[in-house]
């Protein structure tokens, strides 16, 4: 088995100790979250704090909207050959009151998704080069099987 390396540093935990999660920032001054993590300034115009705690964001959220990518995106996206279309979702995280995007795991099509559906964060392979898997966060439907039933 080859190496497993995050495709970007510090944006998510790999789930080696407890479940995987996105790593955001929480402002020490006003509690505002940000993803990816802020390190320099708070986005709240009424807050001048420059202190941030790195926190794990909610692992589950509800679909704000969704789509797919039927055509191969241009570089710097590293596409499989042959190209396999994937879905993208924007997910509302209730506790953080923000919406975050991400790909959906393989095998899910837009027909499996609805606004308001619950999804869960997983860590998955974005692309592989030589003997290394480059990892990214993806979203996995929680209720897709239920609707089909």
């Amino acid at each position: 088995m080859g190496a497993r390396v995050p495709a970007v540093d510090g944006w998510f935990s790999l789930g080696e100790e407890g479940p995987a999660a996105l790593l955001g920032s929480k402002c020490a001054g006003c509690g505002t979250y940000a993803f990816p993590a802020e390190t320099r300034y708070c986005r709240n115009p009424d807050c001048e704090s420059a202190e941030f705690e790195v926190v794990e964001l909610s692992r589950r959220g509800r679909i704000w909207s969704y789509t797919d990518a039927r055509y191969q995106p241009p570089p710097p996206y590293v596409a499989a050959d042959p190209y396999v279309p994937f879905c993208l979702v924007a997910v509302e995280l209730a506790a953080e009151k923000l919406v975050v995007m991400g790909q959906v795991v393989d095998g899910v099509t837009v027909d499996d998704l609805r606004v308001g559906d619950e999804v869960e964060l997983v860590i998955d392979t974005l692309y592989s080069e030589d003997d290394t898997d480059f990892l990214v966060w993806k979203w996995q439907p929680v209720v897709a099987a239920v609707r089909g039933a």
């Binding site: 495709a7 970007v8 540093d9 402002c27 006003c30 509690g31 505002t32 979250y33 940000a34 993803f35 990816p36 986005r43 709240n44 115009p45 009424d46 807050c47 704000w64 909207s65 969704y66 789509t67 797919d68 990518a69 039927r70 055509y71 995106p73 241009p74 570089p75 710097p76 996206y77 590293v78 596409a79 994937f86 993208l88 924007a90 509302e92 953080e96 009151k97 923000l98 919406v99 975050v100 995007m101 991400g102 790909q103 837009v110 609805r114 606004v115 308001g116 974005l126 990214v136």
Partner: protein, 404 residues
């Protein structure tokens, strides 16, 4: 309205939109000369040149104001070059307007032009740029521009019952509007069936519903009200710009936008969190407030239909109707030529494709011709008030309100 916020539009000029790959300066120069001729002024009358930058054409594009001034021949005119992504044209208009209203100049030339590569817009510049969200969204998510437009489109379907046919009807309407527009790149009618038979790009958006990338150029000659009256022997100028909105979003911006990975967090916001109240409605709201003119006064609107579905979002965002009512407006023909408030009588991005720094200027050119009553074949009868609306990457609002 008092003179202190109005400026006159004396000239408008465009180079047709297309895909030729020639130097962008050529398109801008042609548009500038047309605008000067339209105004009845010469290049030496221009005191201030305001260029809208392009970032895909090397250094001359980053200093577009000077590039166009050099192409017209150095005269010592003052110059500004601004970049605001899709809002660059409105930012250049805003810059010229501020100079005029401050009394620093009487006559300004605004120019924007672009030459675009084929295919999806990819991030500009090479190498690994792991601190640039625009690079990272392609690398980590494969999120092209159309996928963001598709998120908005799908949300309309699931929340408001919009249909694929509604989106196709927007395309059909705009294609019909553009047929008689000599500056449009695509000038042929299409049917709903043809739109729905075109390949899916980012579900639910199909190829014919997504704006292309184009070459093109647009220019305006803007002057103070006093100059315009002197130039016309005392007559009031025919068309004026009453407001320019270049607002940023207000925190928390809760709609996901290109090229971001997430929205702002609303936890520190004391009001009600609405993961849907976003930036776009605030753009024209600022223009309406500045002009003292509301959406009920509009004769027409030119909005940024990056996708056919996004045009429906704009109907609500510019105040033509309430949330979830845009499909009814479309189906009732309100926004078609002959309807109460035609939207994109030019044919919109649907017929033009996007020439980024020229596009917001082109919206104003179309508005000028509509207000003069000279938009042959696609004229909004009796047009008196026009608004343009557009949004640039990373939070650049863009709206211009014009009256006759």
């Amino acid at each position: 309205m008092p003179d202190d916020k109005r400026i006159a539009v004396l000239g408008a000029g465009m180079h047709p939109w297309g895909k030729w790959g020639r130097p962008f300066v050529e398109y801008g120069l042609a548009a500038a000369r047309d605008a000067l001729a339209d105004a009845g002024l010469g290049w030496r009358d221009i005191q201030f040149v305001s260029g809208a930058d392009t970032i895909r054409n090397g250094y001359p594009g980053f200093v577009a104001g000077a590039t166009f001034a050099q192409a017209l021949g150095w005269t010592g005119a003052r110059v500004s070059s601004v970049y605001a992504a899709c809002a660059s044209g409105a930012a250049a208009i805003g810059s010229a307007r501020a100079q005029i209203l401050a009394g620093l100049c009487d006559v300004a030339l605004v120019v924007g032009a672009d030459t675009t590569p084929k295919g999806f817009f990819a991030p500009v510049g090479g190498g690994d740029r792991k601190d640039d969200p625009d690079w990272l969204r392609f690398h980590l998510m494969g999120a092209t521009n159309p996928t963001y437009f598709a998120l908005y489109a799908r949300r309309r379907m699931d929340r408001f019952g919009a249909t694929e046919e509604d989106f196709a009807q927007v395309k059909v309407k705009n294609a019909r509007h553009g047929v008689a527009n000599p500056y449009a790149r695509y000038r042929g009618e299409v049917t709903v069936d043809e739109v729905l038979a075109s390949p899916m790009v980012a579900d639910p958006l199909r190829l014919l519903e997504i704006c292309a990338t184009s070459d093109g150029g647009a220019a305006l000659v803007l002057t103070s009200m006093d100059f315009a009256r002197r130039h016309a022997g005392g007559a009031e100028p025919q068309v004026t710009i009453n407001a320019v909105s270049t607002v940023t979003p207000s925190f928390p911006n809760t709609v996901i936008e290109m090229p971001n990975f997430s929205t702002d967090s609303a936890v520190a916001f004391s009001g009600q969190w609405d993961a849907g109240a976003g930036f776009r409605p605030s753009i024209t709201a600022a223009a309406y407030a500045e002009a003292g003119i509301g959406p009920e006064d509009l004769s027409l609107a030119e909005v940024y239909d990056l996708s056919a579905a996004l045009e429906l979002d704009w109907y609500e965002d510019i105040g033509l109707c309430g949330e979830g009512e845009a499909e009814k407006l479309l189906r009732d023909g309100v926004t078609s030529l002959g309807g109460r408030v035609p939207v994109n009588p030019s044919g919109g991005l649907s017929c033009f494709g996007e020439a980024i720094p020229a596009q917001a200027i082109a919206q104003v050119c179309e508005s000028v011709w509509q207000l003069r009553g000279v938009a042959a074949g696609h004229q909004v009868e009796g047009a008196r008030v026009a608004v343009t609306a557009n949004q640039g990457l990373f939070g650049h609002g863009s709206s211009v309100l014009l009256t006759r």
